[in-house]
């Protein structure tokens, strides 16, 4: 009896999952669809998380690291991740084939405050790999389109080949109820049909009611400062500007301490913070 409880109650115990599909999004970023092996857990776990939460992916002999969930709870059944090959664990993940096993813990983190975004205009700004966590909230908003006001999505990448979910966004651009603008810094092949320049150049298209807008940004650290300036120029209040941050994490539960900033644990108090938090807690960005 005790033995069984120990196995089940341990939040450090990884849960086995199967890679059902994988394909490359760019040169070094791969998309993974995984399904928990325990059929009793699939629906309860994949339908109840919040966009913006993350999971710990575990590979025995290699270790464990946090990854944003890029799928949405409004489409349960699978977890989707968008992973850049950058370290030891991710290199090993890239060697795995479809049908291979990985292990998961979570979901962890606060996620986006979706409830408080209902009825507001949403303005997304993604740069590079920042599209991964934002796609979760974006798909959630598109699946529940009636709950939100205007939807603006601005996405910047270095080159067309570096743009994550390129085909998906080309299709979404066709939707009449959704404003999607894509830009690239450089276009070496010269066949990019949309805007060129940094992501902030897309703000000229944005027409939202600033007092009733939730703005969300995720991207490389250098991007935040410039994007936030644009949000402020629009007149969006600090408390409605959200950003999702990255840190080293080993537990995901506010214990190991490695993601700590000041007195906040990014894994439980974040990874989603408001601009006010960033101003108030030194060292977040």
């Amino acid at each position: 009896m005790h033995e069984i409880l120990y196995q089940q109650d341990n939040p450090y115990m990884p849960e086995r999952a199967r890679i059902v599909r994988k394909y490359d999004l760019t040169r070094d970023v791969r998309f993974f669809q995984v399904r928990l092996c325990n059929p009793d857990k699939v629906f309860p776990v994949t339908s109840t998380y919040s966009p913006g939460q993350f999971m710990m992916i575990s590979l025995p002999y290699v270790g464990e690291a946090p990854f944003s969930i890029t799928s949405t709870p409004s489409r349960p059944g699978l977890f989707e991740f968008c992973i850049r090959k950058v370290g030891r664990l991710t290199s090993r993940l890239f060697e795995l084939e479809e049908n291979d096993f990985i292990w998961l813990r979570g979901p962890f983190g606060n996620g986006f405050p979706v409830e408080s975004m209902i009825g507001k205009d949403l303005l997304f700004v993604a740069g590079g790999l920042g599209a991964a966590p934002l796609r979760s909230l974006l798909l959630y908003a598109l699946d529940n389109r009636d709950l939100f006001g205007k939807l603006f999505y601005l996405h910047g990448a270095r080159t067309p080949a570096d743009m994550l979910f390129r085909e998906e966004f080309f299709q979404l651009k066709q939707r009449k109820d959704f404003q999607c603008y894509l830009t690239v810094d450089q276009d070496p092949e010269g066949n990019w049909p949309f805007d060129k320049g940094v992501v902030t150049s897309l703000f000229k298209y944005v027409k939202v009611n600033p007092k009733n807008t939730a703005a969300v940004v995720c991207g490389p650290p250098v991007m935040y400062k410039y994007v936030v300036q644009e949000f402020i120029k629009l007149g969006i209040p600090d408390a409605n500007i959200y950003m999702t941050l990255e840190r080293k994490m080993k537990c995901g539960m506010g214990k190991c301490g490695q993601c700590v900033v000041g007195h906040k644990y990014v894994c439980v108090d974040g990874p989603v913070f408001t601009l006010w938090d960033v101003k108030n807690i030194k060292g977040l960005i």
């Binding site: 120990y6 341990n10 464990e64 292990w103 214990k255 301490g257 700590v260 007195h263």
Partner: protein
């Protein structure tokens, strides 16, 4: 309130009786240091104040196997041994209370819970030396967090029962217990007065949360960072430091993988480094600032008290004198004799 007394001459038999609960551990002198070790009661140093490593090692050992992976399955067979830990002082018990609140909030840590269940905490009163400053952190007395607490009144000891587990353990040593009389209480009051007058180190933590917060850009951190060796001693000896790391180790002999959990330190360079090499806290001064913010600001806002219990382990351990006392004094613009404040360190 459950209060008894035992004769001083019965202390050793009393402790031997408690061994019925589990292995007996207590403070034992080793050279210049005192350590918690498994020993006979006669070997315990009853006057010892601070052990080198605090009692947190009983609740989460410096290194242990948290999970095993064998034959494609994860297993959790961590079963801590039952132990009686004797000789914790009020500061140490306060530290365990902080530990408890920290490890059981939000997601309760199962490894901590199991060890807690398997550990009987037997506290012991103390008289401060020139380094103790628990009066300043409000941790010089305890009301909870121990199973038994012994107060040494010379020829006898008061036995205060602090938990159902403590009450249960008294069945093992019932024959030594005697009822307390009014005289014992008045002797205790007199002892308290003597003890409270014995503190020598003056340090004022009042106002620390906001002073540390306001001093974010103070040159003090830079100066400290230049002296710091990043050795991690402060975090290992601090009874309220909780950080750990997980690493997978392959056991060739048994063909299985062990996910090792071990104490980790925020002053290490790799602590905030993410894949790809970006380090959120590259400078030593940044990492020290994190430690002091966490101790003196963070817990204040979460639990209403600093995460310093005044044990002075950092004071006696840091090779360059970076410790709560010298940092608090420096932030208060007070003079301090700490080595780091006098060091002229080149940038090289």
């Amino acid at each position: 309130m459950r209060l008894f007394k035992i004769k001083k001459s019965n202390l050793f038999p009393f402790l031997r009786g408690l061994e019925g609960f589990g292995e007996l551990w207590g403070p034992v002198r080793k050279g210049e240091k005192v350590v918690y070790a498994r020993a006979k009661p006669e070997e315990f140093d009853l006057k010892a104040l601070r052990t080198m490593i605090p009692a947190k090692k009983f609740l989460l050992p410096p290194k242990f196997t948290s999970l095993k992976f064998r034959e494609s399955r994860w297993e959790d067979d961590y079963r801590p041994k039952r132990k009686v830990v004797f000789g914790l002082h009020p500061c140490g018990i306060h530290a365990l209370n902080i530990y408890h609140r920290f490890y059981t909030r939000l997601y309760s840590d199962p490894y901590y819970e199991r060890a807690k269940e398997a550990t009987l905490i037997v506290g012991l009163s103390c008289v401060p030396d020139e380094y103790c400053f628990c009066y300043a952190t409000g941790t010089s007395t305890v009301n909870e967090g121990f199973d038994l607490f012994l107060t040494d009144l010379g020829d006898r000891l008061l036995v205060w029962v602090g938990s159902p587990k403590g009450e249960e353990s008294l069945k093992l040593v019932g024959k030594y217990l005697e009822d307390v009389e009014q005289k014992d209480i008045s002797d205790y009051v007199a002892w308290r007065k003597r003890r409270d007058a014995a503190f020598k180190l003056k340090v004022d933590l009042d106002g620390m949360p906001e002073i540390v917060s306001f001093s974010y850009d103070s040159p003090v951190w830079e100066k400290m960072g230049k002296a710091c060796l990043s050795c991690g001693t402060c975090t290992m000896v601090c009874p309220t430091c909780t950080c750990f790391d997980l690493e997978d180790e392959y056991d060739l002999k048994r063909d299985e993988m062990h996910r090792q959990r071990f104490w980790y330190s925020c002053v290490f360079r790799e602590y905030s480094m993410v894949a790809g090499g970006h380090n959120f806290r590259e400078a030593r001064s940044e990492r020290l600032k994190l430690w002091y913010t966490h101790k003196l600001v963070g817990f204040m806002s979460e639990y209403g008290a600093p995460a310093c219990v005044g044990c002075s382990r950092c004071v006696v351990s840091c090779p360059v004198g970076i410790n709560v006392v010298s940092v608090v004094r420096a932030l208060r613009n007070e003079r301090t004799a700490a080595l780091w404040t006098k060091m002229e360190v080149s940038d090289a």
